[in-house]
Point group: D2
């Protein structure tokens, strides 16, 4: 059960509501986000919803049988729109394109990517400064100084930044220099990180776990929402299967399924989804046709020399061609 | 190594060639198909290809390092086109649409489906008369009589038939009443069946195994080709993974990968790929955008009453809408 | 619902029973095996079992809610014992050891293996004469002549034979020369083959599919049983997963789960289960400790020179040591 | 390359060594643990090992081609023994038994479990105070106060504590109250957590990721070791597969494979590995027979009333019986 409170609810009104919720045999959690104030009732009691509906301070009540509630479309049919400011919006029916290198490497690289994006009308740049690496001996990214350098250039060009946060202590450090915190596939169930990202008023994009289920992804989003942050984006990036001809198996099914289950925007990462440069474009196009609200992929001026993920990174010519195709595919889909 | 022989090769010429192949340390297999006569050399010897190239009776020689050879694009760059006659062609750059019920049930059903297909310009009808079922107590299909009834109606309407063959003894029975033999996902590695289908001059569509690799699918096609039948089509139909929100996980990656590895046409089965009626359309569109040469899906006048697979079957209205969208998506892709 | 008929049931009695079954809203199948005569009722009707119980000709009635019925322990609590004759028995509480080469290669090889088995008190020899191979160019086995040669030697030594049957036409060919027909992992859902094996009075061992579920394996056994053959053995041989450090992932869980769900004997194949020679022994011991009724593994006088599967094949010294350990582990388990 | 330095190495000697390592084209990392001082050379240069071997300050040099180095058995053949004090040791050839509830619930529960363990000679108790839960609305554990209560009782009884740490900030909080930090399956690749656990002089047990590879588990251990902590234990706890008859698929293969690849102790968690109470015992016995150095499982006085994981938790009677069987199986294995 989700009870949306009015913005003018008084403390005594809220207490009356909570008492009723308890009397009905529900446990409850209060959630206050940028956009609303909710009481989540956890329990299975059957009752006459009118016993609550007449109380003062209640804007609306919804029964939600899913175990994830706040992110469910059973409660909120309208799509969540994530506004990054300056006219950059995800989930409003337009196609969000996010591109950039796997790792931020140096100033010249960043400058080159920004020029490429600006030249192609792309407003969001991806890039890693804290890199999760299987081996402790691999390159782990430029860190916070790299992020500040990147930020300085991106702001001048009107480009928004999405970058991975790996641990709680990085949230404050990164806060002023990112527009979207990315939660990586190895951290999808890092619940403390999710809790803390719920306390921040910045957008958060959660990648599906390496072998996470669709339901687990929704639960992870519920963590952030329930801790106070509604500015959420989900990302399908391929799952681990027995098939070794590709890096991961892009779960194209997840896109229509997620869009049916949740009101949050759903974007796709074809670079990790297939992991082979020459096939990134067809997979990207497929995800748009399956209904993705956006695409995030890797591009670099010289993929062969990229510090990481070169094998799945497009050069600027390939990237420019793909952007044009994605937009035409998206325009066609909107006609359907 | 693949040696293509000329159509006028003489017996003594061939013997000379085979002797040379043996002298080079290769084992060999002779393959005669509808379209050519080949000698396949199995081995790893390094040699000067000119030692063979000058021999009489040889049209061309190709080194092929893949373990599947005849189906590899390393040998044959041009796409294989499968012609079913009467202008119905798969793999020529057009989009092949194949639709119909999971099971053939009765005359009225068949008639209804045919009218739907004809009305929407679809020329190939799918349907099962021999149904592989996990449980021995489930409906196993109408059998050969159902096929004959179906054939009679389809011929009148100019519709081609694709239907699953489950065992060697059915090949002869079914031969005159099908245009494409379908090998189901449980029979992808039924090697005896593949061998026998190699001896038939009818098209064969091989579905990927329930958890088959892309490579295994190519090997299975190699069996049919090496036994004499080049009229081959591959079908991606989803794989078994841990994710249970969909029936299977449609491996969208497999489409561009297969098209790069083989010259055979590649079609997609979104009905089994996701298994949920309301999501068949977005997945179908995605496969076209990823480059599929065709789409095969389930439709029925009353999906709720279908003898099998109703939960993933489109009604005629949904089917008609999808056909139009698929064609527009395919037309867009051809512009890229 | 399973109705066991008495051995003296008369035709009129059976007709009365069948009429009652129909009246209760059940579809039915009659099953006659080597050991009994059953009527299987398919349906979900709730009824008072006493309406049937008093009828003449009925030995016993069982409700079975599983979709597989005849192989379920809900019907038959006592374990099925498969008797191969001459004192060789599987499923009676003893540990069945089956060993031998992947492929039967020649007379000297067979003779060597038989001596090794006899010397270690092993009574069942495995070996392939029809080999399923991914590639059409690989060695496909010696065929029926190899089987006859093997049979001649095995009979003299009192050794029983288990060998894979790949297609219906081989059943008659092989019948007189095998003691157990093995259904391989690629044929677990070759339903026509299962149906035909149900008509034979020889033991059948069904391997779990390459990525088959436990439930599918039980259904496959139900096919054979429902077609008339109760002499069934199930075999866990590892499943396909994302993990590539081993050939397959031995599903140790399947052993206690299968033994709880079915009355059929369950054996384990550690050779395919892990696929790495040096680790076959610990995995074999683990399966015995988990409750397997037997173990089937690959051994060869010179694994390095084996025609197939050499990398997972034990030499005779390793094999002899393992046999001793397996028996001691099994003896310990019986004390628990 | 791993260079072990002598305990008396001087700063100038070390500088000379590092200069040589650089000259050979290697990047290097210095590692100082409780037990030694190492230089790790990362690179692929081929060189004459004698160019380094004669330098002062070097105790030993090893080429290690694996990407994980410090945890590899190619460097250190002898097994790592983790000593928890008071005679409680893991990895010395004895069988370590660790048991306890999923969640620490209250004083009476803890007292009951401790009595059960003491009565059966078990010295290590498991239990969660910080619980990772898919849903934000589920019970998340008693927290640090629960740990202190538990610690007070365990110390009196001579029982060691293993408990899960979920984030960096908990390390300091928990430090004085645990004997082994457990890294859970959702945190196996939480690299910041691993880094910080490398700075602590307490044993760490790393569980394999929910769908982690064996190699990834070794890399995760390398993180902790490379950050300074050699007191490491690995834990196989089942992986996620398509099979839904069990909670996870216990990867029995991982046990002999890990023991061959690493010198670290390997324990098994049959409770999560199968997830079904009645089958925990056979799976536990199997893992011991496969060579596990220990077993960790869930037990509770009243599994039906446990706050979490009741369906896979043994009662004390089952637990006592299992402990006896595990010891007998382990004793038998040591005779082989």
């Amino acid at each position: 059960m989700i009870i949306q409170l009015t913005s003018t609810v008084t403390t005594p009104e809220k207490e009356t509501i909570l008492q009723q919720v308890k009397d009905l045999g529900y446990k409850h959690t209060e959630v206050t986000t940028q956009r609303g104030h909710y009481i989540i009732g956890i329990g299975k009691a059957e009752f006459d919803i009118r016993r609550l509906g007449h109380l003062k301070g209640i804007a609306d009540i919804h029964r939600v049988s899913d175990d994830y509630k706040l992110v469910s479309r059973k409660w909120k049919v309208g799509k969540t729109v994530v506004d990054l400011g300056d006219g950059v919006v995800i989930g409003d029916g337009s196609l969000a394109v996010m591109a950039g290198p796997c790792s931020i490497e140096n100033e010249a690289q960043v400058q080159g990517v920004i020029e490429h994006l600006v030249g192609n009308g792309v407003r969001i740049m991806r890039g890693g400064v804290f890199k999760p690496r299987s081996s402790p001996y691999a390159f782990r990214g430029l860190g916070i100084d790299g992020l500040k350098m990147w930020y300085a250039q991106a702001r001048k060009a009107g480009i928004k930044i999405i970058s991975e946060v790996m641990q709680v202590s990085q949230i404050a450090e990164m806060h002023d220099y990112v527009d979207v915190f990315q939660v990586g596939a190895r951290n999808t169930q890092n619940f403390n990180l999710l809790d803390e990202l719920g306390k921040v008023d910045k957008a958060v994009m959660i990648k599906r776990g390496i072998s996470g289920t669709i339901e687990e992804l929704l639960y992870s989003a519920e963590y952030v929402f329930a801790a106070g942050n509604e500015k959420l984006i989900l990302c399908e990036r391929g799952i681990r299967t027995y098939e070794k001809a590709s890096r991961n198996t892009m779960d194209i099914n997840a896109i229509p399924i997620l869009k049916e289950k949740t009101h949050l925007p759903v974007v796709a990462d074809p670079s990790h989804g297939i992991g082979i440069r020459e096939f990134v474009a067809p997979v990207a196009l497929a995800t748009v046709m399956a209904g993705a609200d956006g695409v995030i992929y890797e591009t670099h001026q010289e993929p062969e020399k990229a510090a990481s993920d070169g094998q799945q990174t497009l050069d600027f010519e390939e990237s420019a061609r793909l952007i044009g195709q994605l937009r035409r595919a998206h325009a066609l889909l909107r006609e359907f």
